[in-house]
Amino acid sequence: MSTTAAQKGGLGAAIWDYLTTVDHKKIAHLYLVAGGLFFLIGGLEAMLIRIQLMKPDNNFLAAGLYNEMITMHGTTMIFLAAMPLIFALMNAVVPLQIGARDVAFPFLNSLGFWLFLFGGLMLNVSWFTGGAPDAGWTNYAPLSTTSPGHGVDYYVMGLQISGAGTLIGGINFLVTIVNMRAPGMTYMRMPLFTWSTFVTSTLILFAFPALTVGLFLMMFDRMFGAAFFDVAKGGNVIIWEHLFWIFGHPEVYILILPLFGAFSDIFSTFSKKRLFGYSAMVFATVLIGFLGFMVWAHHMFTVGMGPIANSIFAVATMAIAVPTGIKIFNWLFTMWGGQIRMTSAMLWSVAFIPSFTIGGMTGVMLAAAAADFQYHDTYFVVGHFHYVIVGGVVFGIFAALHYWWPKMFGKVLNEKLGKLAFWPFFIGFHLTFFIQHFLGLMGMPRRYWVFLEGQGLEAGNMISTIGAFLMAIGSVIFLINVVYTAVKEKKVSGDPWDGRTLEWTMPSPPPHYNFVQTPLVRGLDPLWVEKTEGKEGMTPAEPLGDIHMPNASILPFTMSLGLFIAGFGFIYQTDDKTWLVAAVVGMAITLGSMLIRSLKDDLGHHIHKEELEEDIKKGVGK
């Protein structure tokens, strides 16, 4: 068994363990480390951008390199940092919250991670092979289809591979939540984080295929001579914009909804109150997800869709403010009358409310189609979406990490350092992005390599850059905290926050089978229900018996590796046909691994009752 092997062996065994693991908790670690690393890379790119824009006519970065920088900053932050960090949280928490021993498809879970990682690596390899993609993260044709070099090819292949991983992850969580809930865990008793994971997974399922198609068209145009975006052959460049935003807008909600869920759990726990208006919150989440598909064209008001389409999409977009507002008020009233404990997790969550409210408000302003003729593609938009994504998603990730860190690693992140990281980041965030709204209206378009002297933009840009440095300082302190906690802090119990949901019923970190006995859920906030009746833990729903667990496998890794190799083949066959060998070899590795997977029976293994009894003696499962 993999876990015991890891305990016996040294580093090699540990690496092998992580390469082959199908345990959702370890996959969460992998997502966390990879996502964190890409977050640092994306952050570094952001710093370089801000240094370039520190003063007018600056020449710190060359024009071409600057475009690569903004493209990679956006792409990295969205696809390679925010998404995997969210998947880390979902993997670490969702099975525990619904009382499951693993996800529905542990093998696919691992495959999803490795696809994402190799896709992300592919994108970043471009830095070393002659230039990263440079057509913006939105990659509009024909700028992208005519971009020289292979940068955009890397964008296409990298996102295609990591997108497949995300899609697989989405389906996995959908099935997990539908089929694997513990007895009594009805839909309307699921914690909000699980609910939002459910809605997010649905969005992934229906949004990502549009991107897949867009990327295929782009790939065919660039690598195989198709003419989708070639106007000389009747192509139409607007198709890319539609496909991209049909994916891209739901993607925004894919990012924010899970954190809405996390905030709900955090507000509730640290106010010692059940969530105010639980059913309204669920309804609002579902509604936001649904409306998220109806509004993609609000990114395209200036494309020339005509006043009718513009008006429809404007009004539909405004409608999203209603369920979002419901959520804000419900959070406020969850805290109302509670006993608020200002832990680091709570601090990030509390800071989220005004920040995100500003982002939401500028969102409504942007929805006013005609006014978007001024806002569109200016720093106003940059300010808006950073308020939403940093003020919502990044604050949320920090909050959730502080909250669930003990569950993932058995230690509470140092509170003092946690707050020390918060303040520079929070102040820096507002310094960086608030002023950008004004810069945009004062005439500074987005994605500008330089701004000229004498346009009244100097002071604002300087402030923005100073803010960015403060954010960097905050991030570094958080990293120091991670190391400090690992070295200095003591192990804590399984329930350090006086928690309310199922993940707090087991030791931290949990045994790899999670629950010795599947718990019986008797209401919303199941652990709280038991606590109010004076019980220590959950009532089991089944007698102690053998537990069926999945086997570890290296195949997900090899499948993804094969696609990684094939990706290079596809990219470089346009220069030299011998590269097709790489494409063939790569695809052979992938398809061969798939064949092995389908021909070889994998029935998993059992953990026997005797082993469990021994674990219980050691204190597992209370």
């Binding site: 529905a104 498809f105 899609l167 389906i171 996995n172 959908l174 099935v175 539908v178 089929n179 694997m180 399922l205 229906f206 949004a207 990502f208 295929p209 549009a210 897949t212 198609v213 867009g214 295929f216 068209l217 065919f220 145009d221 195989f224 001579g225 198709a226 003419a227 989708f228 070639d230 000389a232 052959k233 009747g234 192509g235 139409n236 198709i239 539609h242 496909l243 049909i246 069926h548 064949l595 389908s598 021909l599 029976d601 029935l603 059992h606």
Partner: protein, 207 residues
């Protein structure tokens, strides 16, 4: 449920594909997957419709398409859908041999379809010089129909692999969901083809 029960069940239930948790998961996940595939094909159809008239002075749909062959292909694929239903019917009655036979017929029909499609494409390329890069319409046509053809090919390989793998040991609770899901995939491919037949060929010929 022990491994023994899964591989050699004493009693096969009526719905062997949904008898285990793994089977249920697979069944549900596949429906979700088909939901995603629907969006994928919807996007391809959208692209095709948008580029339908963008022939850049090259071959137009009216000029290219002949309905006879396509009609034959449609019949083949629809029939193969029916034969795969028979196969699943026999699976539910635990008659492994008959299931294999009907699956084999399904595969043959699928292969015939694929052969026709390859012939069709080659015909366009050689007779009309209508290639992938001729016009935006050409790219959209080959991409949409080709994606479907790729799905047919994948579905065929999948069913054949399942048939060979399980030929000796017959039906059990471990492979029943696999067969079932493969047949679902096959139905999906058929449904997509009905839309292709209508939107690409019929509307192309009439419009």
């Amino acid at each position: 449920m022990s491994h023994e029960d899964v591989l050699n069940p004493k009693h096969m239930p009526h719905d062997p594909e949904k008898a285990t948790l793994e089977g249920k998961n697979k069944f549900l996940a596949f429906w979700f997957f088909l939901g995603g595939e629907t969006v994928l094909f919807a996007s391809l159809f959208g692209t095709y419709i948008a580029l339908n008239g963008s022939t850049a002075g090259e071959n137009t749909p009216e000029h290219l398409f002949g309905l006879e062959l396509v009609f034959l292909m449609t019949m083949m694929l629809l029939t193969s859908s029916l034969t795969s239903v028979y196969a699943m019917y026999h699976m539910k009655n635990h008659d492994f041999r008959k299931m294999q036979t009907w699956l084999a017929i399904t595969v043959l029909l699928g292969l015939a379809f694929l052969g026709c499609e390859i012939y069709e494409f080659l015909h366009y390329v050689h007779e009309y010089e209508f290639t992938f890069g001729s016009s935006a319409f050409a790219s959209a046509f080959y991409t949409l129909v080709g994606f479907h053809g790729g799905h047919v090919l994948f579905g065929l390989s999948w069913i054949v692999a399942l048939m060979i793998r399980n030929q000796k040991r017959g039906l059990n609770l471990y492979n029943a969901p696999k067969f079932y899901v493969a047949s679902l995939y096959w139905h999906f491919i058929d449904v997509v083809w009905v839309f292709i037949f209508t939107v690409v060929y019929l509307m192309g010929k009439v419009g």
